[in-house]
Amino acid sequence: MGFTRRDLLKFTGGSAAGLAFTPVPWRLLRDSALVSENWPGVPQPAQGEIRTRYTTCTLCPAACGVRARCVGDQPVSLAGVPGHPASHAALCTVGLVGHHLPFCGGRATRALANGRAVAIEQVLARVSAAIAQCGPDESVAILDARPGRAASQVYRRFLAGLDNGIYCAPPEAQPYGPFGIDLENTRAILSFGVPVLDGWLSPGRVLANRSHFQLIQVEADYSRTASLADLWVPVAAGDAAFAAAVAHALRGSGEDAHAADVARILGANQPAIAIGGGAGNLNAILDSVGRPGGFLRRRDYAPATDLAAVPDHSIQVLLAEESALPWSLLERKLATRNAVVVALTPWLDGYARHADYVIPAPLYLESLDEVATPAGSTAAGFSLSPALVAAPVGVMAPADFILRLAHDATSYADVLKQRVAALKKDGRGTVFTYSDAKSTRVQDIASTSDLWKTLLGGAAWVDDPVPQVSTGFPIPAAETGDPPLHSSPLMSKLERESGLRPARRYAI
C-alpha cells in the first residue's frame, strides 16, 4: 500500500504531539517575549559618558542658572543650580525642557529674502543699501529682545553711527528701569496684573520668598496668580480710578471697600511695594523707593526708547530680534512704503512671517550667548551662556549680523571677551560659580582669562550694591495694548514666535 491520506494525517498528528515534548515550541514561545520586549520602532537611549555641564538660561530675563546632565555632549536633562543668587535652585517649566527646543520643528535654517533662500551676504548688502537710502525722517530701528547685554552695546554703537538710529526694547525686559526689587525683605506686594506666581522674575526666587509677603492681585481675570493670591481684587489692572481709590485709602480717606481692604493689608505689612502698569504714584505713597524691602537702584542701566513713543509710520528699516513684542505694535510704526523688516530669529513663525528678510539665529544652548542683569535683581549682573549642543550650519547670532552690517571685523565672541575684560578691570562684584556654589570676589581672580574661563564653566557675576537715594519712582511697565496670550510672559513669547502652543487646560 502506498502512502495514503490517513498515513499523512497520522504522521502530522504524531509529529505535533511529539514536538510538544521537545524544547522547540517552548524556546519559540520564549523568543516571542524577546520580540515584544524589543518592540520595533521604539528608540533606545544612547549610552555614553555622563557629564555635568553648566550654562545660563536665555529664554527669558530671569537668567536662571542651569545644570545640564549630558550623555557625551548631548544634554538629557536640565536642572537649577543650588545657591544661585538670582534663581535659587529652580527652573521653570519651559527652562526644564530647553534642550528639546531644537527638535520642535519650524526652524529657520537658511537666510530668506521674501521667503526664498539667499546667502547672508546678499541680505547684508540689501539691508545696507536700504539703510543708506534712508532720508531725514526715516529711522532705522533695532528691537533688542534682551537689553543690557554686551550685544545691546553693539546695537547701540551701530545705531549711534547712523543719523536716525532708534534703539528699542520691550518694557517687560527691564520692567523697573534701573531698579531691582528687594524681594527678600518685602512684606506685601500690590500687583496690578503682574503674573507674580506665574512668570515674574525667577520662579525660584519668588517662591522661596512667598511665605514672607502678602500678595494682592488686581486683575479682571481669574488667573493663576489671582487664584492663589491672599486677596484678589477683580478690577481691570489698568483701572486708574482704582489706583486713585487705593491712594485715598492709604491716606485714610475714601469709600471703596476693595481699596480699604488693600490699604489695610498694606498698612499692616510693611515694607510694601506696588508693581504693574496701574501702580501710578502708589510707590511714592508707600515710600518704597531706595528702602530695604522696596526698589533698590543698581548700576549699569541705560534706557531704551519705548516703542510706543516712536511716531507711527516712521521706521524705514527695522531689525528685530526674536519676537519680542506683538507684531501689531510694530506694524503701526513701520513706514507705509518700502519699509524693510529684518527678522533675526530661530523660528519661521513669528516675525519671520512678516519680515522681508530672515536671518536664522541660533537657539538657546546652540551658541555662546550671554545674559544681562536678571530681571528684578538689585545688583547688576552678567553671565555667559555657553553652548551645549552644535548649532545648525548657517545660523548667525544677531549680534554678529549687526557687526557685519557695521563692517566691524570683531566677532560676537570677541565682544563678550571685551565685556569680561571690562569687568575684570572694574574689579567690582563677586562671581558665583555654579559647580561648587562658591562666591569669589573679582579682585581675587588672577586674570581676565581666568575670569573668562570661570564664566565659561558656568558662573554668574554679581555687582556690589550701590548707595541708595530715596527719590524718584521706578518707571512703570507700559501696557502693551494687546491682551497677553497667557499670563506667563515666556509662554506668550514662545507662542508668538514659534509653532509651540501650550496644551489646553482640562477638568480631568
Binding site: 514561545l29 516571542s32 517575549a33 515584544s36 477638568a507 480631568i508
Partner: protein
Amino acid sequence: MDSHLMPRGVRRCPLAQFLLWILPWCALLAFGLYGAGLCLVKGLNQTNMDNRFAFGLWIFLDLTAIALGAGAFFTGFLLYILKKSELKAVINSAVVIGFICYSGAVAALLVDVGQPLRFWFTFWHPNVHSMLTEITFCITCYLTVLCIEYVPIVLKNRKLRQIPSFLVFEFELHKSMPVLAGVGTFLSFFHQGSLGGLYGVLRGRPFAFREGFAIWPSTFFLFLLSAAAAGPAFILLTTWVVSKISGKQLVRAAVLPLLGRISGVLLIPYVLLKSVDTLVWIDRTAPARGFAAHQFFIWKPFGAWMLFAEILLFGLLPALILLRRHLRQSTGWLVSAAVLVCLGVTLNRFVLTLQTLSLPTLPFDAFLTYMPSWQETATFLAVVAYGVLIYSFSFRYLTLFPEEKDLPQPVRSHETERVVMEPVC
C-alpha cells in the same frame, strides 16, 4: 445537495437558503475582523478606552458572555451529576453555546490586552493573589473541556461517524462525559466566582468592593449564583429563538418549563443574598472606607433606579413568574421571564465593570462617561457573527437537539427534499 451531511430524520432548509442566511453574518464577521485587526495593528488607541476607562465594552461583554454561557456547565452538572435526564434534549446545544461564548470571549480578550504576544506570561509568572490569574487558568482549562465536549457532537455527524476510528473515539469520550462534566463544573465554579471577585477585591473602588468569606468577596458567590440562574434561562431563550427561526419543534414541551423552573429556583436565593449584600454594603462596607453609599447614585443616568431594577425588575419579578407553573406553561410568560433574567445578569455585569469605572474615587475627580468606538463595536459584532455562524453550521449538520427527529414537525413546502437513507457500513 448537502443532505448526506445532515443528521438523520430531520429536515433542513435548502442549501441556497442556508447560504443566504449565513452571507450577512460572514460579511459582519469580515467587517468585525477588520475592526479587530485595526486594534491589533495600530494599537488600542483605536478604541475609546482610556486611562480612566481601562475596561470598556469588551470586558463588559466578556463577563456577560461567560455568565450566559454558564448554561453549558450547569446543564452538564444537572444532567450528568444530578441525573436530570430531560436536559439531554438541550445539552448539545448548551455545549455549543458555551463553546461559542468562551471561545469568543477568549478571542476578544486577546485583542483587548496591549501585548497579546505575552499571553503566556500569566502561566509563566502566575500571581496567586490575583483573581485574574485564577480566571486565566480556569477559563483556559474550561475552554479545553468545552472543546473536548464539542468533539463528540461533531464526530457524531453522519459523514464523520462513518470513519471507524472516529466512532470509537467518540464512544470512549462519551463514557467520560460525567467526569468531564464534573471537571467543568469545578472549573466553572471557580472562574464564574472569580469574575465576581475581580471587582469585589478592588479596595480602591468602594462602589465595587465587598467584604466576604476568607479571600472571597461576596461578589464571588453572587456572580456564581447569578450565572447558574442565567445559564438555563439563556439556554431556554436560545432554544426558543432557534426554534422560531428554523420553524421546527426542537424539544419536548416539558423541557423549556423545566429550564425556567431551575432558573427561578436559583434566582430566589440570589435575590435574597444580593439584597442582604447590598444592605451590608450601604450600611457598613462603603462608609467604612469613607464613601457614603448614596453618593454613588447622584450621577445621571446611573441613579438608584438601577439598583432597584437589577434586583427587583430583573431579579425578583422573573423569579416569581418562573416559579408559577401555569405561567411557565405559557410560552409568552416563560420567554419574557427568561429575557428579564438575562438582562438582569447583563445589567449586573455592566454595573460592576462600567459604572464602577465612571464613578469618581479621588475627592476632586469628576464623573466620567465612555462610549465605545466603532472598532470596539465591530469586534464585538464579529464575535456575535462568529457565534451565529458556528451555531448555524452546528444546527444544520450536527445533532444539537436529539429529540427533534421524534417530534412532529410542521411541513414546509420547500423542504420536500427526501432524505436518502444510507446503510451504516
